[in-house]
Symmetry: C2
Subunit: 488 residues, 2 copies
């Protein structure tokens, strides 16, 4: 109860104080204040500095203690040595939680480590700490953002992110929100001296707003508990984990970054095998998997029908699907026959991968082929590749008389008429600056597709990998039902 | 001698005849004629159709035989059944080579297979065939392009491509040329009924214009010869191979596409191990590797200095480098000391990965760090990640006062002052359509980098993989020198 109350004050604070506001505009405190104002925080904002003058239209308080009203959350950007005093002030004031942006603690040296232990001791049982060495919390419903996020979406969503890296999480919100993804709670938690991945996961597990959890983790404090939590989430909320520092070189970097113990690769591999947490390697995969898990909330089956424009694309898509463990079953005779009746006899294939000949196939043909493929019980999922050439006028210097926009509409309509998951690959045709219009067109089609329930990524490689993870997760969740997971 | 003469007429034809020109504007012959005119072919163009009227400002000849002047190359777009007659006409006329766009041969059925054998028999010893079921040849120096390539660069380059897929090769030229890559010869060769990968490789091996060869291959006609050729190229011209159809599903797709025998996976794995051909899986990797091999023509060493803006990026880059076999040695004491004297004590790392704190590090600091790192003998290659945030004004709603452009200049100047290869990761910060200016900025920086000799890709994942391949290739080439390769 008390625990939850503290989280309420973290995610939905009515008042936030910023410690470390100074005459230097570039100081973290000043930047955080500005970002919160621009983001449109609706609660009260207080600026704190022992010897500061009023600024940014705000009175500057010498200490948190001097604020008359209650304070729910304190952002600490003042130098590391000053932090113990700030913590004491917060405790005295009865502040329930702080986020410490300031770095220079356990990740640096022995002295920093002692300082970190000091603040933990001062706070113990009285106030909760996020950080130090973190960027804070972004919770659009609470009107709260983290440091560079003045322009993050105000709109809420169902994705939660926890990250030990502030850099990755800021990049992640930019990249993901640009694709239309929206967030419930995002927590950059740095060194995790007090609140750590387990506290956040426990909260997010029961947070009704959160449906998918993405995590960038360098080290965990209590491996056993983390394991149990990840296991209990299986089939309830997908947990997607990018584990940084799985190599020896990566471990060295983790030590310099958050001072975490990165752990042994073999242990982490067992963790992924045994819990159902989705393993991703790197930023792009974290993005792709978060996107696909928040898109298809009931999973997908791995028997894939591939429909493509050209023979080479079918070969590549087949190889990629099989490599990641998806199945591309051959068309059964009745489907083969129907497709053969539709397709020109030459330069096409009815076999699965189904080749409609080229990316400029007539929209009516494309539609009939898709309908036929979707009538086949033996497939679970439709994947369309190399069909949408929105850049033809620029690439070929001729108007597009082939109906690219109609093919887009065909897929949208077909997707609306089926319950099977539909995915599309929207390749980047060129990165030529003079042809940036092609990229704009690609992104517009991607947006239209997503709005219509069609999941789209820029390459078959990325699409197949994300789809395979989605299938594996829901298979694991399904086979675990009725087993020990039910007891938890 | 005769063989080379035939290739001369293929790549540098003085006159090209197009068979299959008709009243239907959308027919392949018409489209090819138009594309050649728009591309600016300087030689003579002839249109051929037994019952055609004059069109596109050209007289239409009933047969190739009716053309009075010599014909170097014939593009055949007429229906499959008509092709044997066209071949006979070409032989009678003394045409040295044809490219057959028409599909419906060995890749379709037994009848098509017989037709394919017929044309091979008719041509044998008299004329050479590219295709059938291919898109033809793009050779900018010869003024020649392949079917959709009216706007391909007129400028020549050093990259040759051979591909059994016309679709992949057209996409490849669009994508690669948009990144500034330029081509010597590109051959889409489809079913390879006569001229095949071995003929083209032999020619390209001795072509002075070609420095790097990229290949998309579904099946080879003479495995032994292909193996020997690939082996003989090691250390002379990098050969980058994307083998389509390495899985069972992929094989089925290959059969429908070019009717090739895809071969066993184990055999191909031995091929890559034993020849030095660079193995890539998929379009993106073919692109990245072609780019890096044509960029660093003397290779690179695998001891990498990583410089990044933020701790998380260092962890990720370290993991990725180690996973692909690159080395990230820890800074020796003297370098560590110099870096520590430069870097702020908190939120940075002097260890390698070197963390300058954040992507907005002061340009002068960034410059000194780079110079220090490059003075270290123990590293071969510099890789910079998460430094260039060209999108700040759009992302953060504030002017960029941090000197992003200066950091770009710093890297360019530093790269010019060293002989060590320099690479940069230029991540896509968002795919938001309203923020397309960020992507334009990213592409501009990428272009400036490439022009200054800095190799740039959008992710550490792609960069590290391509760099590792580059290192492996040149190590293999170097260790093979003085061995049996010298005898060949």
């Amino acid at each position: 109860m008390d625990r939850l109350k503290k989280f309420e004050s973290i995610f939905y604070p009515k008042s936030v104080a910023v410690v470390g506001v100074s005459a230097d505009e570039q100081k973290a405190g000043n930047r955080f204040l500005r970002v919160m104002q621009e983001f449109g925080f609706k609660g009260r904002l207080y600026a704190v500095n022992p010897d500061g003058n009023d600024m940014l239209g705000l009175k500057v308080y010498p200490s948190v203690r001097d604020i008359a009203e209650p304070v729910d959350l304190v952002f600490i950007g003042s130098p590391a040595r000053s932090v113990p005093q700030v913590i004491e002030d917060c405790v005295a004031k009865g502040v329930p939680a702080v986020e410490i942006f300031t770095a220079g603690f356990g990740e640096v040296d022995e002295e920093g480590h002692r300082l970190e232990q000091d603040i933990v001791r001062l706070a113990k049982g009285k106030l909760r700490i996020i950080g130090p060495n973190c960027f804070g919390v972004y919770c659009p419903r609470g009107g709260l953002t983290l440091l560079p996020g003045s322009r993050y979406p105000r709109e809420s969503g169902s994705i939660a992110v926890i990250s030990q890296s502030g850099g990755w999480v800021t990049d992640f919100i930019w990249a993901a929100s640009g694709q239309g993804l929206r967030f419930s709670k995002v927590i950059s938690y740095g060194n995790a001296c007090d609140l750590n991945e387990i506290d956040f996961l426990e909260y997010l597990a029961s947070d009704p707003e959160t449906k998918v959890i993405a995590a960038y983790i360098e080290g965990v404090k209590d491996g056993r508990r983390f394991f149990e939590l990840a296991k209990s989430l299986l089939g309830k909320k997908p947990l997607i984990v990018w584990k940084g520092g799985l190599t020896e070189t990566g471990k060295r970097a983790v030590d310099s970054h958050t001072g975490s113990l990165a752990g042994e690769r073999a242990v982490w591999e067992a963790f992924f095998r045994q819990t159902g947490a989705v393993r991703v390697d790197g930023f792009e995969e974290l993005l792709d998997n978060t996107a696909i898990f928040s898109h298809f909330t009931e999973g997908a089956g791995r028997r894939v029908a591939l429909v493509g424009g050209g023979g080479g694309v079918g070969v590549a898509a087949s190889d990629m699907c099989e490599q990641v463990g998806l199945e591309v079953p051959a068309s059964p005779p009745e489907i083969m026959e129907q497709l053969r009746a539709l397709l020109p006899p030459i330069g096409t294939s009815a076999r699965n991968p189904v080749d409609v000949g080229h990316p400029l196939a007539p929209p009516s043909l494309f539609q009939k082929v898709l309908q036929t493929v979707l009538s086949w019980d033996g497939i679970d999922t439709l994947l369309v590749d190399r069909i949408f050439f929105y850049g033809l006028p620029l690439l070929m210097g001729a108007p597009d008389t082939t109906g690219t926009d109609k093919r887009v509409e065909v897929l949208i309509n077909v997707a609306r008429s089926t319950r099977k998951p539909v995915l599309a690959v929207l390749g980047e045709l060129t990165s030529d600056i003079d042809m940036i219009g092609i990229e704009v067109g690609r992104r517009e089609v991607q947006r239209r597709f997503r709005q219509a329930g069609i999941f789209a990524l820029p390459s078959i490689h990325r699409t197949a990998k994300a789809l395979a993870n989605l299938c594996s997760y829901y298979e694991k969740a399904s086979s675990s039902r009725g087993k020990d997971y039910d007891k938890s």
